[in-house]
């Protein structure tokens, strides 16, 4: 994980310094990950590798399993009754589905932003950002105010809300609410950020702000984003995976997947022939 800055120092002369996605060290990986709802299998043995400090996008038509897949990455899938998971998810080499692992601790390391902004309506803007830190054992000694400000700045929301931190979070616009939810997730300092169609409820202007934010966030975090918007995947991601009917059809660098797809189904999808 700390390889990247060193690499930059070591090779100042090279122009395009960012390592290719394939070279970047791995942050997270799934091995033969399957998922079920009751008897219905919705994911078939998906193996993927998420490089550190890169944005990996997952695309596919509705019902292809991309949301289920991302929810397996922080053990949110099992929250739904009758849901089941098979296979492994390795975070820094450790399987988060190992029997002794507490899902609560996994979710603190792998943050998640949902489709629709879901701030807590009974809490202020400040309270929403501080919510995760007020959970047992996360206070960390540093003052709450500092962390709240830093998180809001990272989420590019600070300037818009700094004068009304104690108003309800639900007073904000939809896009601001979504950035508030991002700030809330950042406050607990996760290692990986999962975005489950974060812009599907937002207008184009708010969407652009979130996308810009992703560029900033990827300097510090490993990001996985699910989107049904192919242009968005092309704009924000370094790597893209295409899912269809619960199978991983193709995975590769975003430019190559969108310009020279290897699989005919990928080509059909990105050229708009179905989905």
């Amino acid at each position: 994980m700390h390889l990247l800055p060193d690499l930059k120092k070591a090779l100042p002369a090279r122009a395009s310094l960012a390592p290719t996605p394939e070279e970047a060290p791995e942050a997270m990986r799934t091995e033969a990950l399957s998922a079920w709802f009751g008897p219905h299998q919705v994911l078939h043995e998906i193996s993927l590798r998420f490089p550190a400090r890169q944005v990996t996008a997952l695309i596919g038509p509705s019902g292809c399993g991309k949301t289920t897949y991302i929810r397996c990455l922080n053990r949110m899938h099992e929250v739904v009754p009758s849901a089941r998971v098979g296979g492994k998810v390795l975070l820094g080499g450790e399987d988060i589905y190992a029997p002794k692992v507490d899902p609560v601790l996994v979710r603190r390391r792998i943050g998640m932003v949902f489709q629709k902004p879901n701030p807590f309506p009974a809490m202020s803007i400040y309270g929403n950002v501080a919510a995760g830190l007020r959970l047992t054992g996360l206070a960390k000694g540093r003052s709450l105010d500092e962390i709240v400000e830093r998180s809001l700045r990272q989420a590019a929301l600070w300037d818009e809300v700094k004068d009304r931190l104690h108003q309800p979070g639900t007073d904000l616009s939809g896009g601001q609410q979504q950035r508030l939810c991002i700030a809330r997730t950042l406050a607990v300092e996760p290692e990986v950020l999962l975005f489950d169609e974060p812009c599907s409820a937002l207008d184009p202007v708010a969407t652009e702000k979130i996308e810009q934010l992703l560029f900033e966030l990827k300097k510090r975090y490993t990001i996985v984003i699910v989107t049904h918007n192919m242009q968005q995947a092309a704009r924000v991601s370094d790597l893209t995976g295409f899912l269809l009917m619960g199978d991983l059809v193709e995975f590769g660098r975003t430019e190559s997947l969108f310009t020279t797809p290897k699989d005919p189904r990928t080509e059909a999808y990105i050229t708009g022939r179905f989905g």
């Binding site: 929250v79 943050g111 949902f114 701030p119 807590f120 309506p121 007073d171 609410q177």
Partner: protein
Amino acid sequence: MRRSTSRRDRGSDRPRRSRNPSDRLFRGATLGFALAILGLALLVAWQLFIHSKLSREQFGWSFLWTQTWDPVAGQFGALPFIYGTLVTSVLALVIAVPLGLGTALFLAELAPPRLSQWLAFMVELLAAIPSVIYGLVGIFIVVPWVRVHLEPALSGTLGFLPLFRGAPYGVGFLTAGLILAVMVVPFITSVSREVLLAVPRVQREAALALGATRWEMLRMAVLPYARSGIAGSILLALARALGETMAVTMVIGNKPQIAASLFEPGYTMPAVLANEFTEATDDLYLHALIEIGLVLFVVTVLINGIARLMLMRLAVPAGPVKR
């Protein structure tokens, strides 16, 4: 929540006034029924008001804080009954709120769905038992048990409080409060359970994704969201407890007095109405009883109204967060 969707559905495509005569007849008839309900409630209030005239003119507002209730001397004050009603109802809530809320939390959050439905059904059946049956159980089982076991135990351990002093009669505020508590628990449990189940899944998941345990999720996301609905369920229970007549009449002892000890017998507004109506031979006595009825009517309607408003506010979610 079911209520909110039905309201929304109704608003969007409500038919305009139709030219079809049978439609208009139907509309007129149902409107008439709806107005008749409202008219009945107003009529009740009006009747209570005019038939308490003598008492209102003679005692004025002091009726509410006079302690004497002496039909022979023609002296009437409602305070002992108001006191008895409040003490028994508050006692009932003190017992029923933790019990009912705990049950609702278990049913909505922890129990497996099938067990939850089955238990919720049983809890709602509790509300269907006629109150005279509760009264009978009270007289034959609860009163002796309270006299022999509960009251001596309470005065032995908590006797330093004036609440738990005096002779164990069995009948009194304490027993009435116990019986009322059992009677109102179903209201708190079933309404709170519905309210908890109506908290959107995205709210729960927001808390879980931050690394909240199940209990932390309840505290952070579920309970604040359900707050006003839960308060509404408690007020509904309170209104029910204030107006309960039969069961309380059978176990409270029917003695118009204000006593610090919960062991003492007392009297409530509904109980005095039920007991003394047939004996009220002169007009002033009758009017005084009806004025008690008026006080009870106003208090319960107010509390019910507030409860309904709180439950309605929950049905209209705050902000665009609801899925």
